[in-house]
Structures are given as C-alpha cells and as structure tokens.
C-alpha cells in the first residue's frame, strides 16, 4: 500500500474560555492510495476535527501539532497559499448537510461549473460541458434540464449527488466525506454509498469516510479506524474489525448494536460517560469505563502494529505492552469477556 496521507502523532486542541479542549490526541494513521478508509466513533470523539485538520480548515482557535504528511510533504510546514493550492488540486470534501454546501440562489449546474472554473482555466462553455458530465456521472437524471434548477427543487439525495459532483470537479486524490449519508433515508443512503464506491473504483480516489453508523462503514470501506474521546484506539481491515474487535471499546460498541442475533435479549450497555475533553484523563481515555483497567492504563497507550494488518492502542495488547517493556499478559481476555460495568 503506497501511502497518500500519513498522520504522525497529530493532536488538536481548541482554545476556549476556561481552558482548552483536547479534541484529538496523538493520532497516527496512514491512508493508502486507492483506499476507502472509514473513521467511526461516537459524537464528539474528534472525527470532524481530524478531517478538518487534514483540509487545513480548522478555526483559528485550534492548535495542531504533530506531522500531517501528504505524498510525503508536511502540510503543517506549508504556507497558507501553498496549502490552498494543494487543497484545490488534491482534496475535496463532502459534508453531512447538502443544504449548507450549496448556494440556494444559484442553479445547481452553474455551481458545479463554477467549481470547475475555480480549479481550471477553462472557457464558460467548457466548464458547462464538464459540469454536465459530472452531474451525469453522479446520476442526476436529465442533467441538462435540471442544470438551472436551484437546490431546493431537488430532494436531499439529489442535492447530495450535486455536492459530490462539485467535489469531483478537481479530480481529487483524496475525498473526505463527513457523514455524507446521515441526513438521508436508507434507500437513498444506499444509492449514495453505491455511488461513492463506484467513483472510488473508477477514479482510484482515496476516500476517508466519516460515519457514526458502523453499518455504513462496513458496506464500502476497506479499513476502519475507531476513535474514542480524541484517541484512535484501533485500526483494522473492515472484515477483521467486525469479526474480531480487539480493543475493549470497539468490542463494547459492537455489542451495543442491535442485530439479528440479539433480538429479545438486552443490548450491552457501556457504563459511565465519555470523559470531558476539557479535562481528559491523563492515560487511556476509555479507562473509566473499561472493565480491564490496570495501573498502567494511567499512561496513554500508544497505537502500534499488533500484527501486519491491525493497529491497536490498549495495554492489554502484547504489542502495546512491548513498547513499555511490559511482558504480555498471561491470558488475554477473550472477546466474550463481559464489557458491561456499573450503572448506566
């Protein structure tokens, strides 16, 4: 796997009154060329922050540390102008709510054409032709006749297609899709996921798909990263992650999902609450809720390769332990070990 993006120890803090919020802490991650990578985790765990850091679109209150490498170039070392250039050439983003990404007063075709012109010196005629081609590619029926329609004439699913068309205007090598289907109905969501998968196959675009719905990620991603309270806790190929989650949080999360096998039984509850990120625990951020907590968990477990395909940040894992010179635990807890603890 050739790396397109490499994050090394990336942390993001938001300054605010009454202290700072540690939204992302020491995240290391590699995105390969041609890969669809899913980033999952519950609300507030830092998914959007991380993707905005990649885009260079964080508010000025945010402080980013670590290294963000794109084709080996450190994004944080670039000037603002270089960054803008690089973003225009290589990156695109699709957000949850298509309504906010489109201007309500202009025709959808015109908006896509303008995006084309923003990236490339082309005539109006050429940009229109390219916009039409993009609209057709994302499956807008009768693209010519809809070209001048303002966004409100389109359904949510169609609007999201238009946003995706605009995002493809610069032929990006990395497409960041932040909850692109969360606002859509399931049948429409299925269509949009199909579209993303097809575009990925056709253009070889690397996609970073952010979702809180594990099902969405399971459908189209090659690999998945799980975040908890600002820390990336586990990274694995999608099949392996769902078949055999290793991090206690990933396991708990999967156990909390209603699924066919669990009908009529109660769902597993993760006791306790997500820590306050303005005053996070100093070690593993899942420690307060983790049934396996040990003394060493007061130190941040580094995210390391557990085997050739999986990375994990947990002091139960032999690879993480080895980084601190700790011997493997005598018997690793099985995936069935109880997760639920304490009152909810």
């Amino acid at each position: 796997m050739t790396a397109l993006v490499e994050l090394r120890d990336v942390s993001v803090d938001y300054a605010g009154h009454g202290g700072s919020v540690s939204a992302v802490q020491n995240v290391s991650l590699t995105l390969g060329e041609n890969e669809t990578f899913g980033l999952v985790g519950e609300s507030g765990c830092g998914k959007t922050t991380l993707s905005m850091a990649l885009m260079g679109l964080l508010p000025s209150s945010a402080r980013v540390t670590g290294q963000l490498l794109f084709r080996g170039q450190d994004l944080l070392a670039m000037s603002e102008a270089e960054r803008r250039q690089q973003r225009g050439d290589e990156l695109s983003m699709v957000f949850q709510d298509p309504a906010t990404s489109l201007d309500p007063t202009f025709g959808i075709g015109y908006q896509v054409a303008e995006t084309v012109r923003a990236h490339r010196r082309v005539s109006r005629g050429e940009s229109k032709a390219r916009a039409l081609a993009l609209l057709r590619e994302v499956g807008i029926p009768a693209a010519e006749s809809r070209y001048a329609d303002p966004p409100h004439r389109l359904s949510g699913g169609m609007r999201q297609r238009v946003v995706i068309a605009a995002a493809l205007a610069n032929d990006p090598s990395l497409l960041l899709a932040d909850e692109p289907t969360t606002a859509l109905d399931v049948t429409i969501q299925a269509q949009v996921l199909d579209l993303l998968a097809e575009l990925q196959r056709k253009h070889g675009t690397t996609i970073l798909l952010i979702a809180h719905d594990l099902g969405v990620v399971a459908q189209i991603c090659d690999r998945v990263g799980v975040m908890y309270a600002g820390q990336l806790v586990e990274v694995a190929p999608v099949v392996e992650l769902f078949a055999a989650p290793r991090h206690p949080y990933t396991r708990a999360l999967l156990e909390a999902l209603p699924s066919r096998g669990r009908r009529g039984r109660s769902l597993r509850v993760i006791g306790g609450q997500v820590p306050d990120l303005s005053d996070p625990p100093s070690g593993c951020r899942f420690a307060d809720r983790c049934p396996h907590r040990m003394d060493v968990c007061a130190t941040v477990p580094p995210l390391v390769d557990s085997d050739s395909r999986r990375r994990i940040a947990c002091w139960l894992d032999p690879a993480t332990r080895a980084t601190a010179g700790l011997p493997p635990l005598p018997a690793a807890p099985t995936p069935d070990a109880p997760i639920a603890v304490g009152p909810s």
Binding site: I188, D194, A218
Partner: protein, 350 residues
Amino acid sequence: MTEQTRTVIDRDPAPLLEVEGLVKRFPIRRGLFGSGAVHAVEGVDLQIHAGEVLSLVGESGSGKSTLGMCVTGMSTPTAGRIRFAGEDVALASRRGRADFRRRVQPVFQDPRSSLDPRWPIERTIREPLDAYRVGSSVERTARVAELMDLVGLPRHFASRQPRELSGGQQQRVAIAAALALRPELLVADEPVSALDVSVQAQILNLLDELRNRLKLALLFIAHDLSVVEHLSDRVAVMYLGRIVETGPVERIFSAPEHPYTRALIDAIPHADPGRKMSRIRLTGEIPSPVNPPSGCRFHPRCPVAVDRCSTEEPQDTQFDEGHSAACHVAAAGLAQRRSIISTISEGATS
C-alpha cells in the same frame, strides 16, 4: 392454518388502540394556481394491543409523525376514527378526552426540546402530576423518586438542569415525565435517533423493560430498521401516507411481501461486511405527497410493477394471520400459490 393454532395466535381480542381509515391533510396555498393539500396520511388502519410494540417505519415524509400526532391527540384527523380502549376519542366528553391524553403519552426525538432548560429535572418529571393533581404533595415527591428509579436515573440528579445531563439521561428524564401519569400507550417518535449507539442501547433496553414490567404498549416510530427489528412485535411500513404492509416482525424482516418493504430491508447497512447490501436497489425519489402518483403510489419506483399498477390502487391482501400487504403482484403470487396448492390437494383426494 387450523382453528386451534389460530386461537393460540389471537391474543387479547380487544385492541388498546384502534385506528380506522385515518386521513390527515394539510391545506396549502400554491402560488397563482389556487390551493391543494399535502396528503400526509391517507386512510390508515392499525391496531395496538396492551403490552405490544408496533413500529412504524418508512422514508422521510411518509406520514409517520403525522400519524403519531393524531394518535396522541396533538393533531386532529381530517377523517377517520381513533378508538382507545374501545371508546371513540372524537366522541368522548371533555373528561373522556382528558383521560385519553393521560393514558397516551408522547416521547420525542430530541429530548432537549421536550425539557424546559431552566427546570431541574425533578420539576419536569413532577409537572404532569401537578397538572393532573395526582395525590398529595408528599405522594408526588415519592412518585418522582420512583419514576427516576424506574428509568435508571440516580436520585441525586433530581436537582440537576437538563444541560448537566448527557443525551441519554435527558431522554430518560423525558421518558420518566411521560410515564408519570401511568399511561398505557407511549407514542415514541424517533426516541433514539439523536443518540449515540451506546446511549441508544440504554434507551432501547429501558423501553423493552418498561413494556415487560408495566405492560406498556408502544407505537415506536423509527427509520433505523435494525432498531425496529430488535424492539418490535409487529411492524407497519408506510409509504406516502399509506400503510403498505403490516405483520409480525420476524415475517416482515425475513419474508416481506411488498416490494417497497423488501427494498427497505435490503438497504439496511449491516455492521457485518460479509453481508452484502441491497440486492434490490430503488431508483428515484419519494414523490410529492401533494400529488401522489395514480394507482399504486409506489409504481414509479417499483422494480416489479405491471401495467395495472399505474391505474388501479392495490387493496390490502391478507397473506397470513396478522400479515397483510397492498400490492397487485404480491396478491397475484399468493393467488397462484393457493391455486397450485388446491390443485395438488384436489389431485391427492381424487
């Protein structure tokens, strides 16, 4: 099916809630061309028995919330009948209607919108008791504590304000308040949609437990079908104001009859990469409820539509005890199966 098995399946014959031919239209003005109406709910029949969870599913705009609002009395139907415990709600006396509003309680998607941000949660939970003057002041205080226990809120939370609680805890408060008057039916409109997976699990467990402990009936409105499959006894699928299929949850999920139900179930993204998504993929969008398509409302998107679908509205066909769907093709399939069976059995007897 023999008479004997039928009696086993039949539960309490009198439903707690019975909705018949319910219609709700919203008049709209449309520019220069006069007025029209949003056909939000168009002739819905449904029943809920005590202690039963009936889920209402369907895409955005299909009329689920509108139906829920009519059932809780927050919205007045344009036509149709709602009977609660055998009594027609529209014909009830003022006292009868107040009684109905006590026995049927709503729970909404966003707990923040149903909680007063300035009130400590104890006051929110107590409010319905005060409004209906239930018991003495001391008894009300005791009932608040009991309700907090019931929904799993620690008692020391009593004086907290909503913003000091997590989303799941806020939803517990909303549920506690809804339970204060000992309702028999909760109408929960997307009660877990705004919550994270781990928090959602708590609320689903709570609803399940309440149903078992209090014999509470639940009209559960949701768009997440895995949640529906987990919690429901029966499922009703809505499309553009109509219930197109209704039946026991296992049947709806394993062998749906209506093509729309099949497409919905096929579109569920499963957290199981081995299980591939969607065999049937719907094209197109939900049409406008102002001008619903002729014939079967689903025909412009239906992958198996036949000629008559665009002209003739399909009627409900019963496929099994408590399982019916409105589809020409499914009905024809059933008729064919029946005729084959009868041919075989005739052949066997002759």
